[in-house]
Amino acid sequence: MTYFIFIGDMLVMAFMVAVVVWVYWRTSDDVINRSARIPLDDESTDG
């Protein structure tokens, strides 16, 4: 069972590492910056 938990945990870690690599490599700075600014420019008032 210890092996089972160990392998499971390693798979979780591998998944997380894959997400980190994907987010850092596959998305351009431009897309990230634009996404991050969404809440700062999302409304205009109309009387």
Binding site: M1, T2, F4, I5, G8, D9, V12, M13, F15, M16, V19, V20, V23, Y24, T27, V31, I32, N33, R34, S35, A36, R37, I38, P39, L40, D41, D42, E43, S44, T45, D46, G47
Partner: protein, 480 residues
């Protein structure tokens, strides 16, 4: 006439948000008042006056249901509706359904609360309401999902902002947990039996219980944080990439951690160890999120000094850090042997519930209500007094429960040379009165602060119409 109708379809639907905020405040005051009453009953048991409906056993689940499902879920629905339309640059999809969610949810809380007072209880923690309510909750939740994901589907900008990922996670995971954990065989209108029995029942219940904490009290509120913190600080989140990594790490590890509620119980040992390891892994995304939030504010010092809303949010992040450090530690089996069955758990719960959930909601409401009303907050001074009352109340609550919990844990593990208990349960509980008394004081402080918030926000809204706001012009969207 036609023009008005078409134009109103362009406005963000904020009236339903305002009503949900108002209900959330009502439930926060009522839920905390019941919390204070049960805290007082632990000092003066005669406060039930012999009435079953005033007994601790009925009021305690009333407290948890009103604060979690009334206060927290109404706040989450309000802020999800508010932010999803803005981050999608379109008004809500199916606004009539949003109104249905708002009204039906409040009716379910009122009726559900009365059923708990009447002693109708399914005997599962945080899932006490009986099967007719389970069906009603499922219907409202599906409507919530339709409004939320429908709005995202018709969005005018391509990226789905990170707050929506957390709100989306909340909606999907809670639906899954609620449906599975509520599977039951009804025998009468007010009584049903769970489809699960024995150890599987315990595992399913704590898979539900833990992830309700994870995806509702944590994930949902992280959605709130990712939208309202940048808004108030006037700057984007410090690292957007980190927020996405944290989302996946959080979602992936939380779902496995439930068995830490069942250490040393009749479930397989390896399941307990798995729960412990996953809880320790959770420290990483939790602290990454806290650091991301604090770094976002680090460039807005001037505002932090004067803006009570921002102060509440920053403080909530500190308590989030505290609760998510303490949680993984309590999940370690050798620590849990001391903390389980003691008030240490209650202290941990309220460092999350008061310090994180309530504070971030207060901060968000102090920002949101003046915006909805289109005028300044009625009194910044009252909001600052509230800040100190809330901080003092939370600290006193946690310290009292740590004191009580650690001494309980150590005292009932203490054995004499032949292995007999050194102290009886009755004696240990008898020595808890001072700690419980301090918690009553903490509750009075925290509740008084909440009453100030209710008064302040009511005065801010009084006589005002909800401001009409439209999405930014198409040109700006394209340029963005």
């Amino acid at each position: 006439m036609n023009t008005t109708a078409t134009k109103s379809n362009l406005y963000y639907h904020d009236r339903v948000v305002t009503v949900l905020v108002a209900w959330s405040i009502v439930w926060s005051v009522l839920g905390m008042a019941v919390g204070l009453y049960v805290a007082a009953e632990l000092v003066w048991p005669q406060l039930d006056f012999g009435y079953p409906w005033l007994s601790y056993g009925r009021l305690r689940p009333l407290h948890t249901n009103v604060v979690v499902f009334g206060f927290a879920v109404s706040a989450l629905m309000a802020t999800a509706f508010y932010s999803v339309q803005r981050t999608s640059h379109v008004p809500l999809f199916a606004p009539a359904l949003a109104w249905f969610c708002c009204i039906a949810w409040q009716l379910a809380i009122v009726a559900g609360g009365l059923s708990l007072l009447a002693g109708i209880n399914a005997s599962k923690e945080y899932a006490e309401l009986e099967w007719p309510f389970d069906i009603a909750i499922t219907i409202v939740w599906v409507c919530f999902a339709i409004v939320f994901f429908g709005t995202i589907a018709k969005r005018k900008i391509q990226p789905i902002y990170v707050s929506n990922w957390f709100y989306g996670g909340l909606i999907i995971v809670i639906a899954m947990l609620h449906i599975v954990n509520s599977l039951a065989m009804p025998v009468t209108l007010t009584k049903s039996y769970s489809l699960f029995a024995g150890a599987p029942d315990a595992i399913v219940q704590w898979w539900y219980g833990h992830n309700a904490v994870g995806f509702l009290l944590t994930g949902g509120f992280l959605g709130m944080m990712y939208y309202f913190l940048p808004k108030q600080a006037g700057r984007p989140i410090w690292s957007y990439r980190l927020s996405i990594v944290a989302f996946w790490a959080f979602t992936y590890s939380y779902i496995w951690a439930g068995p830490h509620h069942l250490h040393f119980n009749a479930i397989p040992d390896w399941v307990q160890s798995l729960g412990m390891v996953m809880s320790l892994i959770l420290l990483a995304p939790s602290w990454a999120t806290m650091i991301n939030g604090i770094m976002t504010v680090s460039g807005a010092h001037a505002k932090l000094k004067t803006d009570p809303a921002l102060k509440f949010i920053v403080l909530s992040l500190a308590f989030y850090g505290l609760a998510t450090f303490e949680g993984p530690m309590m999940a370690i089996k050798s620590v849990n042997i001391v903390s389980h069955f003691t008030d240490w758990t209650i202290g941990h719960v309220h460092s999350g519930a008061l310090g994180w959930n309530a504070m971030i909601t207060f901060g968000t409401f102090y920002f949101l209500v003046p915006k909805l009303a289109g005028r300044d907050l009625y009194s910044v001074k009252l909001a600052n007094i509230h800040f100190w009352l809330a901080l003092a109340g939370t600290m006193l609550y946690i310290l009292a429960m740590w004191g009580a919990g650690v001494s309980q844990g150590l005292l009932w593990l203490s054995l004499d040379e032949i292995g007999e208990l050194n102290f009886s349960f009755k004696d240990i509980m008898g020595s808890m009165a001072p700690y419980y008394g301090l918690r009553v004081v903490a509750g009075v402080l925290f509740l008084s602060g909440t009453l100030l918030l209710a008064f302040n926000l009511f005065k801010t809204l009084q006589g005002q119409k909800v401001v009409r706001v439209v999405p930014p012009p198409v040109a700006a969207m394209e340029a963005a």
